[in-house]
């Protein structure tokens, strides 16, 4: 456990220490106290980045969890042929590294030579420009959804499998239909699992990085270096050589995530008790 703390807390502590300094290309390092944090709070680029991922979270996460839930219910309903194949097929994207996933989708999105665009041209259908400013967030949401629906589905599915058989038998005896069973028995049983997936999604959304970073290559005019908060922290550290400021931004972002997670937990628990 000492090792655990050592490996984990030391870099964090060092980063926290760094965030109190400022190192310049000219003039060297000075202690600046909390100045970096003050600057970060006032930084419009950071605020934009956080708001953007918040919007992303608000749209993508409910959609992804809803899909995961529907798929899990469908699989659990026993009404499917080929259920095993479908389950694995939906789960497979989780095993695809995000580097590869983004590469594939980036190609499919291509405005001139992507297959969607080619098909659209052939049949004279309007195809949206997936990589444009208006569509980018949705396109990103699609990639992330594609990667993680299966994963969330499996969590929910595993939870469903543990609902005691007797409950269903009892419900069936009371004359409850499939929908009613889903609503009254399955959903309540899923609440903790849903909460868990939600929590992971908070962290995932707010730390959104790989996908926008990789799509930046093909849509540089849409995804700028502060598109998401995490991307901004990265650019500060690597492009701007402002390691200290970047560390401060990271900690602030962590704080936002902590707050959001507690809000999620808090609302969920209150609803449960009411």
């Amino acid at each position: 456990m000492v090792l655990f703390l050592l490996m984990f807390v030391t870099p964090l502590g060092y980063a926290a220490y760094l965030s109190l300094f400022q190192e310049r290309l000219i003039g060297g390092t000075t202690f600046v106290g909390l100045d970096n944090y003050v600057t970060a709070l006032k930084d419009p680029l950071l605020r934009e980045g956080v708001l953007r991922v918040a919007a992303f979270f608000a749209i993508q996460v409910p959609l992804m969890l809803l899909l995961a839930l529907l798929f899990a219910l469908a699989l659990d309903s026993g009404l499917l042929r080929l259920a095993r194949v479908i389950r694995l097929g939906i789960f497979v994207p989780y095993a695809v590294p995000s580097v590869v996933a983004t590469l594939m989708w980036g190609y499919l999105y291509g405005p001139d030579f992507g297959p969607f665009a080619q098909l659209g041209e052939k049949f004279d259908l309007p195809v949206p420009h997936f990589l444009s400013d208006g569509w980018m967030l949705s396109s990103l949401a699609n990639v992330v959804t594609w990667e993680f629906v299966g994963y969330n589905m499996i969590i929910l599915y595993a939870a469903l499998r543990t609902v005691p058989q007797e409950l269903y038998e009892a419900a069936a005896m009371d004359g409850a239909g499939a929908w009613r069973i889903a609503w009254s028995i399955k959903l309540p049983a899923l609440r903790p699992a849903l909460l868990l997936t939600l929590l992971f999604s908070v962290i995932g959304s707010f730390q959104l990085f790989n996908e926008p970073k990789l799509l930046q290559d093909i849509a540089p005019d849409v995804i700028d270096s502060s598109y998401t908060a995490n991307l901004y922290a990265y650019s500060l550290a690597f492009t701007g050589q402002q390691v200290n400021y970047a560390a401060a931004v990271s900690f602030l972002l962590g704080l936002v995530i902590v707050i959001f997670s507690y809000v999620v937990l808090f609302t969920a628990n209150r609803r449960r008790t009411s």
Partner: protein, 467 residues
């Protein structure tokens, strides 16, 4: 072009370099004040203050068993290194490909900062040199005999690697003077002459797109800050200047820049040129399918294109860039790189000798031009008939090398790069590049770029001088 060099691993790189005049190099003509020839900085001219290292010390070091680490992304560079190791059997060179471009510099910077794991010698593009000298990370090579090489290399390249006090920060390896490749078949079909001036070019762009809405005269990639800087260079702009350690002047929105921005921004807004990112799948497809009738590129472009647009072989020709003033032809540079020695090296002599040998030894330099298809940085090689006289079938038998060698003579000598290149590039993409891509006011974007860079420089402790 050296078509013979077209295996997958060698066709790729973009430039060439070589050198035939054998002994002229290492013996070196009198090297007097080797200085900055106007390049890297305000001072210029005076001989380096560093004390020369004696030949005895050099001989001694080159006989001592040593291992050098060399970070480079150049494929198959082992062949050139073998030549070095043959001449200096005591020195072994370990090649590490730590990534290309930004990845490479990021790692290099982090390793230097950590004081651990940095190489002895590193590949370095011209534009990156000031970014590493500002942190005092490069070794001045002038005490190690590098001053003698001044006359071997093309003048503007020497300006790029020289410091204000006569330091020599790196040895040029290859270059990318800019020119224009065009589709002769498309030009013929629409009765367009290769444009001599930018005015002609704009007229041709309108004419072509009107005649065939699926075709554009060219694509100015909205992500390619390097190409923009090359065009700035051609137009005679001086966007950056550094004097002393902490003084920088930033001038990215002066009159020349505004002229350039109005020109390209205007064409983009009219919709008669493309602005899509380059080197993407879509862009490669576009070149193969004839969506663009020209590619504004550099001397490494011809070989690159013949590898990536094979389906269009024979249809392309090369020409100089269109001019702002046809009476005074000029060009800029895009690409090319150097070998620099990292200051923290424990083997400065061996590393410095290696950097010099690799790029100036006639045999090694020639190998770069044949194996890696680099465009040379040395004068003797550029003049060598076996290089310049080569005719390429992809370009209908045109002597493309000779053309670009001539263009190279028109590259102006005193273009400088900022000491924070990555930031300048990112900010360009997010201001000027974005304005091009979205067909917004590119001239106004220059002001935004200027403001961002100024703010950044001040934050980093620089004294920013008014334009």
């Amino acid at each position: 072009m050296h078509r013979a060099s077209f295996t997958p691993s060698t066709s790729q790189m973009s430039r060439r370099l070589f050198l035939t005049a054998a002994s002229a190099v290492s013996l070196g003509a009198a090297l007097t004040a080797c200085g900055g020839s106007g390049g890297g900085g305000g001072g210029g001219g005076s001989a380096s203050s560093a004390k020369p290292v004696s030949q005895t010390d050099i001989d001694e070091a080159m006989k001592t068993p040593t291992e050098l680490t060399f970070w480079t992304w150049v494929p198959d560079i082992e062949q050139e290194i073998a030549l070095f190791e043959k001449k200096y059997p005591a020195i072994k060179v370990k090649v590490v490909n730590a990534g290309q471009g930004v990845d490479h510099y990021t790692k290099l910077r982090t390793a230097i900062k950590a004081g651990e794991g940095a190489p002895d010698v590193a590949q370095m593009e011209y534009q990156a040199i000031p970014t590493f000298t500002i942190t005092d990370s490069l070794l001045d090579l002038s005490p190690y005999g590098a001053s003698k090489l001044k006359d071997t290399f093309v003048d503007w390249t020497w300006g790029q690697v020289s410091g204000p006090e006569g330091e020599i920060w790196a040895i040029p390896q290859d270059t990318g003077p800019m020119g224009m490749l065009y589709r002769a078949d498309i030009f013929d079909k629409h009765g367009i002459e290769p444009p001599k001036t930018w005015d002609d070019f704009a007229a041709a762009a309108r004419k072509l797109h009107k005649a065939d809405p699926d075709v554009y005269l060219t694509n100015l990639a909205a992500n390619e800050a390097a190409a923009w800087h090359g065009l700035l260079w051609q137009a005679g702009a001086k966007p950056y200047a550094t004097s002393g350690k902490g003084n920088v002047s930033i001038n990215v929105n002066d009159e020349i820049s505004k002229k350039l921005a109005a020109y390209w921004g205007g064409l983009a807004q009219e919709g008669v040129i493309g602005v899509e990112p380059d080197f993407t799948d879509a862009w490669f497809s576009a070149l193969n399918k004839g969506k663009y009738a020209t590619w504004i590129t550099a001397a490494w472009g011809p070989v690159f294109l013949s590898g990536s647009a094979k389906s269009t072989a024979g249809k392309w020709r090369a020409a100089p860039l269109p001019q702002w003033d046809a009476a005074k032809p000029s060009s800029g540079n895009w690409g090319g790189s150097t070998s620099a020695v990292i200051k923290a090296t424990k083997n400065p002599i061996a590393a410095a000798v290696f950097a010099q040998f690799l790029n100036s030894d006639p045999e090694s330099a020639k190998l770069f031009s044949t194996k890696q298809s680099f465009f040379p940085a040395t004068k003797p090689l550029l003049a060598d008939p076996s290089f310049a006289g080569n005719a390429s079938a992809f370009y209908g038998g045109q002597k493309v090398n000779q053309l670009f060698a001539e263009i190279g003579d028109t590259v102006s000598l005193d273009f400088q790069w900022p000491p924070f290149l990555d930031q300048a590039v990112t900010d360009w993409t997010e201001t000027v590049g974005t304005s091009l891509a979205r067909k917004k006011d590119t001239v106004a974007a220059l002001d935004a770029w200027q403001t961002r860079l100024t703010t950044y420089a001040e934050k980093q402790g620089f004294t920013v001088q008014a334009p």
